[in-house]
Structures are given as structure tokens and as C-alpha cells.
């Protein structure tokens, strides 16, 4: 048997019948409705929570990135501004003659190195783009910059910050140049190379979450500082250059490895630089994933619990209703049946009673005819006539037997339970048979204990049982026999009455058959073979039992056990069994 078969409730395969609900449909309805009203809000709330949480986590990430970019931009701008301002200070504070003096310029470089750090060399260029003076590790005096792009831009804007480039020492540098206007609309330029190590330190010390990467690129997308994941200095990054914005921007994009990344960037003013911070979204969303798992887990557990409880409760309740309805139906059915049987019984009793009177008349008339023939000599020898009358008489007898069975049947249907005393019933029955006992000098002794409880039973049936048993005992005994009737309480629920005679007894082979209908050892002397089978049927009907012990020649002992409380489950019995048995 499969598991499904085992847990399948009783109502599942119940056939739909009149007056009984369709339980399977009811079950579906209950389960679906319950699940709908419990699961729908749950799932809705969970999804809403999921979305809200996801959104807030994402915006939190964006916000944090944006803040980091802003702060870093400020640091970078500050770094550049600081150095530009230093050069501006030098160019306006120092007399031109001192700038043109190599020793003076070297001392300025030394001071700058001490105060700010990062300065590698410094040079003075005149308005024609010629390097007039230089202090630093190389011999760069006399170089002409006039043709270079930066110089032209410098002239235009007044100051200039270059892209990062590899200097002669193969160290990344950038150049800061400031212009000093002279009264005669002439000018000169102070140009300093700054190594970007400080710059790099600044960025590499940033703690960027989510396996993040902070670096600077120029407007062409060339890396100005080393990057952890996007290449070395002066290499082009794989990401596209974000479009210009004055503010800090954060957006979601696709990284080099096609993974989702959060990109924060800011254009650094008055410089060719763009600060970029790139974070891996997956890493950042790790905490969210845990939360997500929790939400999913909660949802799964809730759904499972709701499912089990709903199924369990619905199945249990509907099964309960099914069983109740079944009981109700069977009670109704039983009532209908016993009503039917009762009316059938009344009908049978009526027919039997009514038929007995005309039968008696036929019997007497036939008897009279027979008398007339017997008493008159001319007919006395007419055997044919006598035979005809005998057939009439025996047919009447047969009808009488049928009527008696009908009556018995009717009597067996009506059960009229009342509380009664065994002693009283025994004496009533003995009163009935007392005269026969008297004539035949049979001594009957009755012993019923005084503390015998009253029993719930049908008086008529009990009388019939006792009558049959006493009759049987009388039939088995010769005159001057002895019958003992004793009653006792067997246990809390039952009592027993024993009828012991000292009659002819029952042989062992007959002992097992005596309760069978139509079994009789006295068929030749008028026994119908029905008495004990009726008795047996009655005792069983009353929820009792009957046992017999006997030894041939020494008598027999019948013991009837009866319940003290009547069994309420008295059923209408099979009409055929009743008619045949009774």
C-alpha cells in the first residue's frame, strides 16, 4: 500500500449520494480558500519587503560610494591645489632675478620639497617658451617648449596641470605650471614636475569596500594612477569614460569581467583628471544575499507550515464531518428500517391474529364433519372421507404454525426494554407452568440472591426464553422430576440464570446441534424443533449468550447469560431469518 493510500482520508473515495455532500469538493474548496487568504497576503508582504529591502540596500551602496568619491575628490583637488598655490606663491613672491639664479632656484626647489614633498624639479620658462633656468636632476636648460600643446594652453588659461607621464627616470610624473604676468604684458612660467607617488598613496590608502578599486584617469581613459583590477599606469582602462558632470555621479554598469559593478566618478576641476571608484556589486550585495536567503527561508517555512496546517485541519475536520454525516445517515437509515420493520411487524401480527379465528372455525367445522362420520356407522368405514377431513385439519394446523411464526416475528421486532427483576420474571413464568408441575409432581426450586441487580431487558422476550427452557426441561423429565433454577451475578455487566433438570439429558452428538432450527428429537411426539432455536435467537438478540451442559441420562443444564444494561444497538433483523427461525 502506497503512502498516499495510507494517508488518504475516508471521505476521499466516498461516493456522492443523495443527502450526502460532495466531500472532496468541500475539501478542495476549504483548502483553496484557506490557502488563498493566508498565502496571498504572506507572499505579497514578503515580496514587498524583499523589494523594499533590496532597494534600500542598493541605495545605501550608491550613497556610500558617492560619499567616498566626493571625499576622495576633495583630497585629490586639495593635493593639486596645494601644489599649484605653492608655485603661485613662489612665482609672485620671488623676484625674477632670484628665479633666474640657478642657486636661488635650487634653494626654492629644496624648500618646496621640504614643505610639500613630491616636487622633482622646477624650471623657469620665458614667454617664448625657452627654459631659462632649471633646478633638478637633469640638465634641461635651454629646452624650447613653445611648440608644445601644454605651453599654448598654459598661456591661454594662466596655469596648467598635465596628464601623468613617464619622466626620464621612468617614474610617473605630472607637471604643474603657473604663469606670472609682468607689467609690460610679458610673462614667464614656473614649471614643476611632481611625482605621483603621493597621489597613489592617497588612493591606495582608501578603504574601498566590495573589492573596490579607486583610481584616476584622464579624459581619454588612460590610467593616471595604478589600479588594482583595471591595469597599470598609462594603460587604457576597459571601462568607457563617463560623461562630464560637475557633481559626483554614481551609476551601475558592467565591469571588465561582465560582472555588475557600481561606478562612482567625479571630474576634478581645473585638471584633466577623473576620479573613479569601481566596486563589485556582488560583493556589496553579500549582506543583502544573506537577508534575501532569510526572507526566502521565512517564506518557505511559512508556506510549508500553512500548507501542512491547512491540509491537516481541513482533512481532519472534513473527515470528522464525513463520519458524523455517515453516522447520521446510518441512524436515519436504521430508523427508517426499524420503522418499516415495526409496521411490517404490526401488519404481520394483525394478519396472524385475524387468521387464527377463521382457522379455528374451519378446524371445528372439519372436526365436526369428522365427528359426524365417526359417530355414524354408515360413514365410519369410509376412509376416503375421513382422509379428506384429516387433510383439512392438518392444513389448518400448518396455517396455525405459519400464523404463529408471523406472530413471533412481529414480537421479535418490537423491543420494549424496561428495568425488571429476574426473580419476578422467573416466578411469573413458573406461575404459567406451575399447574403442569403440580400435576406431574415435578419439584421446582428457585434460588435468586437478594442482592441481584435489576436488569434492563424486554419482559416478553425474557418470559419467552424462560418459558421455552422450563418447557424443555419439563418435556425432558419424567413425572416427579426435579428442576433447579438459580440466578447469580456473573460480573459488573452481566447476570446468568441456570436451569438444571434431571431429565433424559442430551447425547454428545446432539449437543452441538440443539440450537439449530428444526432440529428436534421429538418430531414424532409433536416437537417442532423450533423452541431452542427461537430461544437462542432471542438470547442473542438481547445481547446475551446461552450454553448447555449435559450427560445422557443425568439431565441437562442450560445457562443463559444476560447483560445488565441493554444494548442500545438493537437492530431490526432479517425478516426471512425471523420467519424461518420463528
Amino acid at each position: 500500500m502506497s503512502l498516499l493510500e495510507k494517508i488518504k482520508p475516508k471521505f476521499w473515495d466516498a461516493e456522492e449520494s443523495e443527502g450526502l455532500s460532495d466531500f472532496r469538493q468541500l475539501w478542495y474548496l476549504t483548502v483553496l480558500l484557506t490557502l488563498e487568504v493566508t498565502l496571498a497576503p504572506l507572499i505579497f508582504m514578503t515580496l514587498a519587503d524583499y523589494n523594499v529591502t533590496q532597494k534600500s540596500v542598493e541605495s545605501e551602496i550608491l550613497l556610500r560610494t558617492s560619499r567616498l568619491v566626493s571625499n576622495t575628490r576633495r583630497s585629490v583637488s586639495f593635493f593639486l591645489d596645494e601644489r599649484r598655490s605653492a608655485l603661485n606663491f613662489v612665482v609672485y613672491d620671488t623676484p625674477f632675478s632670484e628665479l633666474n639664479d640657478p642657486l636661488g632656484l635650487a634653494s626654492i626647489l629644496e624648500n618646496l620639497k621640504k614643505s610639500f614633498g613630491g616636487f622633482a624639479d622646477i624650471g623657469v620658462i620665458d614667454a617664448q617658451g625657452r627654459q631659462k633656468n632649471y633646478a633638478g636632476p637633469y640638465r634641461l636648460e635651454g629646452i624650447d617648449y613653445s611648440g608644445q600643446e601644454w605651453f599654448r594652453e598654459m598661456v591661454e588659461h594662466g596655469n596648467y596641470i598635465s596628464d601623468v607621464f613617464m619622466g626620464f627616470r621612468q617614474v610617473p610624473h605630472l607637471v604643474i605650471a603657473v604663469r606670472c604676468s609682468l607689467p609690460d604684458s610679458c610673462f614667464y612660467v614656473l614649471r614643476a614636475a611632481v611625482d605621483t607617488e603621493r597621489f597613489n598613496d592617497l588612493l591606495s590608502q582608501l578603504e574601498v569596500s566590495g573589492q573596490g578599486d579607486a583610481f584616476i584617469i584622464n579624459h581619454e581613459g588612460i590610467l593616471q594612477t595604478p589600479s588594482r583590477y583595471h591595469g597599470k599606469v598609462l594603460e587604457k582602462i576597459s571601462l568607457s569614460v563617463p560623461k562630464f558632470s560637475e557633481k559626483t555621479e554614481v551609476f551601475e554598469g558592467r565591469g571588465a569581467g561582465a560582472e555588475d559593478v557600481i561606478i562612482g566618478y567625479a571630474y576634478i576641476a581645473d585638471s584633466p583628471f577623473i576620479l573613479m571608484i569601481v566596486k563589485k556589486k556582488n560583493e556589496l550585495m553579500k549582506s543583502w544575499q544573506t537577508t534575501r536567503m532569510k526572507i526566502a527561508g521565512f517564506l518557505a517555512v511559512s508556506i510549508t507550515v500553512i500548507l501542512f496546517v491547512t491540509l491537516g485541519v481541513a482533512t481532519y475536520l472534513i473527515n470528522k464531518i464525513y463520519v458524523l454525516e455517515q453516522n447520521r445517515a446510518s441512524i436515519m437509515h436504521g430508523m427508517e428500517y426499524s420503522n418499516k420493520m415495526a409496521s411490517l411487524g404490526r401488519l404481520a401480527a394483525g394478519v396472524a391474529h385475524e387468521i387464527n379465528n377463521p382457522l379455528a372455525i374451519i378446524n371445528e367445522k372439519a372436526g365436526l364433519v369428522k365427528d359426524m362420520f365417526t359417530f355414524r356407522k354408515e360413514y365410519a368405514k369410509d376412509e376416503k372421507l375421513i382422509g379428506i377431513v384429516d387433510v383439512i385439519v392438518s392444513s389448518v394446523e400448518r396455517c396455525a404454525v405459519i400464523a404463529r411464526r408471523l406472530l413471533n416475528f412481529a414480537r421479535h421486532i418490537d423491543v420494549n426494554v424496561q428495568s425488571l427483576s429476574l426473580k419476578e420474571v422467573i416466578h411469573e413464568v413458573l406461575g404459567f407452568l406451575g399447574k403442569e408441575a403440580e400435576y406431574r409432581s415435578i419439584s421446582v426450586s428457585v434460588s435468586v440472591p437478594d442482592d441481584m441487580p435489576q436488569i434492563e431487558s424486554d419482559r416478553g422476550k425474557l418470559q419467552e426464553i424462560f418459558l421455552n427452557l422450563i418447557n424443555n426441561a419439563f418435556a425432558a423429565m419424567k413425572d416427579e422430576g426435579k428442576l433447579d433454577i438459580s440466578a447469580k451475578q456473573e460480573n459488573r455487566d452481566s447476570v446468568s440464570v441456570t436451569f438444571t433438570d434431571n431429565g433424559c439429558g442430551i447425547s454428545e452428538q446432539n449437543l452441538s446441534r440443539i440450537f439449530e432450527p428444526f432440529f428436534s428429537t421429538k418430531t414424532k411426539v409433536g416437537g417442532t424443533g423450533l423452541g431452542l432455536s427461537i430461544t437462542y435467537g432471542l438470547v442473542k438478540k438481547m445481547g446475551g449468550d446461552i450454553r448447555v451442559k449435559s450427560e445422557p441420562g443425568k439431565g441437562a443444564s442450560f445457562t443463559v447469560t444476560l447483560p445488565i444494561k441493554a444494548d442500545q444497538k438493537e437492530k431490526g433483523e432479517d425478516i426471512h431469518a425471523s420467519l424461518i427461525g420463528g
Binding site: 391474529h353 385475524e354 387468521i355 387464527n356 379465528n357 382457522l359 379455528a360 372455525i361 374451519i362 378446524n363 371445528e364 367445522k365 372436526g367 365436526l368 365427528d371 359417530f375 389448518v396 394446523e397 396455525a400 400464523a403 404463529r404 406472530l407 414480537r411 411469573e428 413464568v429 406461575g431 404459567f432 399447574k435 400435576y439 419482559r459 416478553g460 418470559q463 419467552e464 418459558l467
Partner: protein, 142 residues
Amino acid sequence: MSEKVLLVDDEHDFVETLAERMRARGMEVSATTSPIEALKKTETENYDAIILDLMMPEMDGLEALRILKEKNPDLQVILLTGQATVEKGVEAMKLGATDLMEKPADLKALTEKIRKARARKMIIVEKKTEERIKTIIGGKGW
């Protein structure tokens, strides 16, 4: 001496035929279909046995039995009925019926019961006579 019997049954055909057959067997039988008439008859006649039906339109057999026994407890009443049940039998016995037979009855068996009833009555009458004699003798101061 023949038995003197009173037959009471509302079925005319039945009582008459039964009476005729009983008479043929040497019994002195009066028959009536009315229990009220039967009650009257018992006031003037002395019957050895009264055969009484249980269900009669004029009066219920058990009721008739009760009145009969009230008037004369020595009366021997045999109930002959088509509606015999053990309960009715027990009730009848309580009221003092001598015997009960089911219709249709075998005449031989009925005759036997009448004879037994008569014997019982004789015994009772004898006993009573004896007692009366004793009382009388006692009263005379013997």
C-alpha cells in the same frame, strides 16, 4: 358424571360447532357469544370449566376473567385465544386463569385440560367442604 362447561367466544360459528362436538363427547355445554351473558350465567349455574376467548367486542377476555374470579375464585377458566402471547399468558395466570390454549385448538387437548380443571375444582370444593364441616363441628363445640 359429565363435565359442565361454559363456552364464551364472539365467533358464533366457532362456539356453536365446538359446543356441538363437545356435547358429542358427552359434556354438558352451554355456549354464548356474549361475555356479559356469560357473567350472568355463572351467577345461576355452576360450571366445571369456562372456556373464554381473549378478544371480544363486548368485553376484553382478561377483564371478564378478572370479574369471574372476583365473584368466584374457585371458577376454573381456560383461555382459548388466537392472540396468545407469553405476556398475555402471564397476565392471565396472574389473574387466576387455569390454563391457556392457542386457537385453532386440538379438541383432545382441550378435553384433557377441561378434565384436569374439573379435577382441580373437585379438590378445591372438597377441601372447602372439609373446612366448612370442621368449622361447623368446631362451632358446635365438639
